[in-house]
Amino acid sequence: MKKFILKLIPYVTVMIIVMVVIPYVVDPYNVFHIYNMRNTGVTPNERIIKMKYILDHPDKYDAFVFGNSRVGSLHTEKIEGYKCYNMTYSVGAPSEFLKNIQTFIANGIVPKKIFIGLDNMSYMSDEELHRTDGMEMPYEYARDNHDTFFNVYFNPVMVFRSLKTMKAGKKIEGIEHMLEYGWWVDYGHATVTDDGNLKPTIAEVRDVKKAIDRTIEDVRQIKELCEENSIEAVFFTNPMHYVTYEECVKNWEYLYFMDELVKVTYYYNFSYPNRYTQDSGNFLDTSHYTAEYGDLIIEVLNAGRKDVDTINKMKYDNTINSVTTDDLCILIEKEL
């Protein structure tokens, strides 16, 4: 027995170092270093980091913005009347937002208000595909599936592959203030150059109608959950760069999405084509808008539903263009 254990010890020791210690220390996705995040060059798992942070600080915020990376341009500290945190995370889907809100409520965190940003990526994202991705594993899935969590994060192959990215020295935006605010796009960010060859930001989906219907059902459940818990839920569609928008409406799908959405809730439509979405100076790429553009959205959200006329007449000034903002947003309250 002694001989057996002695012979096993080197194997077990090496395996613990390779499969536990090294992945824990290197931790490219920062899931084990929430309060001392390193800018590894690898996009951290914001889903796990932000949820853990909020659950550790249940009284710090009374409002949240949910959405994919596009809402990462919203500087939520400018939301008036609330201490608002930006729960943006890459390719976030409404099914994930729903689970996050359920987790908050189950842990005694009942916000007064939530804002949900939607767009074409809302239905093009598939939560199931996120489950085994180090960057995208949902918090609730990680919490309930320890074995998959172990396989993904205590994975020497993953660590080895990340080393190349980490050595390249690239820095990820937004890490410094992820815990305080949650947004990642700062002011003065470089914008995309429109050379006429821009590619739309879309993803391949096997059955688009099914995906849209499923997403709308998730939105409905979010709305119901908020109503049950006296949470004011405000939905809006993100501004979409015209190249992406045109691609999405070419096959009717985004129009169908918007038509189905109004059956569930009113929403602020920032995504329809207007002079802002036509201007590449308002976008980092064909997916993400600038923080300056985000401020305009926040002004609309602050103004609220009553001031529809105000929304439609707001001015928008920046150092590049001065244009009237009478078409920044349309409030969609009923089916057209």
Binding site: M1, Y11, R131, T148, V152, P156
Partner: protein
């Protein structure tokens, strides 16, 4: 707790150390406690049923041996079998029976019954067969009844094989639980080898193939012929690697505790006929069915037709054992018919086996049959199964596109999958002639450690990200 879970990685070393640290006379008590803890990790309520079934069969064995009259012995045997099988029926087949009864009730306008809300306890099919087998063995005089309830319960609940077999025989396992054991270094090392092999099959092959198979079977209409064909072949390997991987880990864990379980698989996909396949696949179940159903029905000690009927009945029961669905029964039926056909074609098969080309042809026919029959096993219903089978060759007239759409969804994982399947195939073929573990044992120390290290590295590098349950747990 799954074998491939963090929980088990903590559970096993603790059990191993305590088991060998305590005096031998306490080991079966400890084994029983550890087994019950293992079983309750799924659902603590399950323990009531397994204890109840253990106690029924334990007392049945005692009563049978004490009673002098053969008729009484037979009555006790029947009552015990009815009780054990009855509980299996309630938990596993009641709702299936009610569903089918209600179809007839609708036709004839008679009273319908509601389904009951019941959870299928993990492993019930396996340990129920063990209890029935024990009582039958006592009745037939193959073994003496076990006097110690503790030993008997430890035998029924023995955790390495509790939830997915091998279905052990009392004459093999109980004496090993009872006998005084000294730690055997060679046995323990062999146990680790089996575990490595099992984890390789489960983590590097079965779990890698599972997401693709699940996606296609969930929505076959969304995929073309190439993708369906790939999913069919992948499931063939998924179920083999999942199930035999579990068995290997179970055998390996048991060897660490100084107990040898029976072998459950012997390179089944190297079989040249369906009859040969059943000599190599889930051996513990097929021998159980042979000994407790086929032979009592008359076996082949009767006319050929009667023997074939006995065989078909045995395969129908085998199919039904796997699940409460007509697809499983149909799967059993077509395998039964195939084995009967092999009987009639024995001369032809023997002649073909004499040449390499003949063997290749036999293998191809057998392997194709297995692939297509597994579709019935995996599909939710006949409609889905027939759709899959009917569309396997759709688009094959454009081979390049057929292959492209078949492989596109997992091309990232393809090299790893091909490598692992290749290694497995080589292992299974070589194992037919040589005991590979014995060869490794005889190799120089450096070579042995290189092999072990290589296996561990392969498992770490090629394992799937997501952990999934073992397929046979649902039975």
């Amino acid at each position: 707790m799954l074998f491939n879970s963090v929980q088990f990685a903590i559970f096993l070393p603790i059990v191993f150390i305590i088991y060998w640290a305590i005096p031998d006379r306490y080991r079966r008590y400890f084994l029983l406690i550890a087994s019950y803890i293992f079983y309750m990790s799924w659902n603590p309520k399950y323990i009531v049923l397994i204890v109840f079934q253990s106690v029924i069969s334990y007392y049945a064995g005692i009563r049978i041996s004490k009673d002098g009259k053969k008729e009484n012995k037979r009555t006790i045997l029947r009552l015990a079998v009815i009780a054990e099988a009855g509980l299996l029926f309630i938990f596993k087949y009641y709702n299936f029976a009610i569903e089918n009864y209600n179809i007839l009730a609708n036709i004839f306008g008679i009273r319908r019954f509601d389904a009951i809300n019941i959870i299928l306890p993990v492993g019930i099919s396996f340990y129920t067969f063990q209890t029935i087998g024990y009582v039958a063995d006592v009745y037939m005089g193959k073994c003496e009844p076990e006097k110690s309830l503790i030993t008997y319960c430890a035998y029924i609940s023995y955790f390495p094989q509790l939830v997915a077999g091998p279905i052990e025989r009392s004459v093999n396992l109980m004496p090993q639980i009872k006998k005084k054991k000294e730690f055997n270094y060679d046995q323990a090392v062999e146990g680790l080898k089996y575990m490595l092999l099992g984890f390789f099959k489960k983590l590097c092959i079965a779990d890698k193939l599972a997401p693709y198979v699940d996606a296609v079977y969930a929505d076959p209409a969304a995929y073309n012929g190439g993708a369906i064909a790939v999913a069919v072949i992948f499931f063939t390997f998924q179920i083999y690697c999942d199930f035999s991987g579990y068995s290997d880990i179970a055998i390996g864990v048991s060897k660490l505790l100084g107990i040898d379980l029976m072998n459950n698989f012997a390179g089944p996909y190297t079989a040249l006929s369906v009859k040969e396949f059943w000599d190599r696949w889930h051996i513990s179940l097929s021998t159980w069915i042979r000994d407790y159903i086929y032979i009592p029905l008359g076996g082949n000690r009767c006319s050929r037709i009667r023997s074939n009927i006995n065989l078909l009945i045995s395969f129908l029961i085998s199919g039904l054992w796997h699940g409460a669905n007509w697809t499983f029964v149909a799967w059993g039926a077509i395998h039964g018919m195939a084995v009967v056909a092999c009987r009639y074609a024995k001369k032809l098969i023997d002649r073909l086996k004499k040449s390499m080309a003949g063997k290749a042809l036999l293998w191809l026919v057998c392997f194709t049959f297995l692939n297509l029959s597994w579709v019935l096993f995996r599909a939710e219903n006949f409609k889905e199964a027939l759709y899959m089978i009917g569309h396997v060759f759709k688009g094959i007239d454009k081979p390049a596109e057929y292959m492209h759409t078949g492989l596109i969804d997992f091309r990232k994982n393809l090299p790893g999958i091909v490598l692992c399947l290749g290694l497995l195939s080589i292992y299974d073929v070589v194992e037919l002639k040589y005991d590979i573990f014995k060869k490794i044992k005889a190799a120089p120390a450096v070579a042995r450690h290189v092999i072990y290290t290589a296996m561990i590295v392969i498992i770490i590098v090629f394992r799937a990200q997501s952990a999934s349950e073992f397929v046979y747990f649902q039975f």
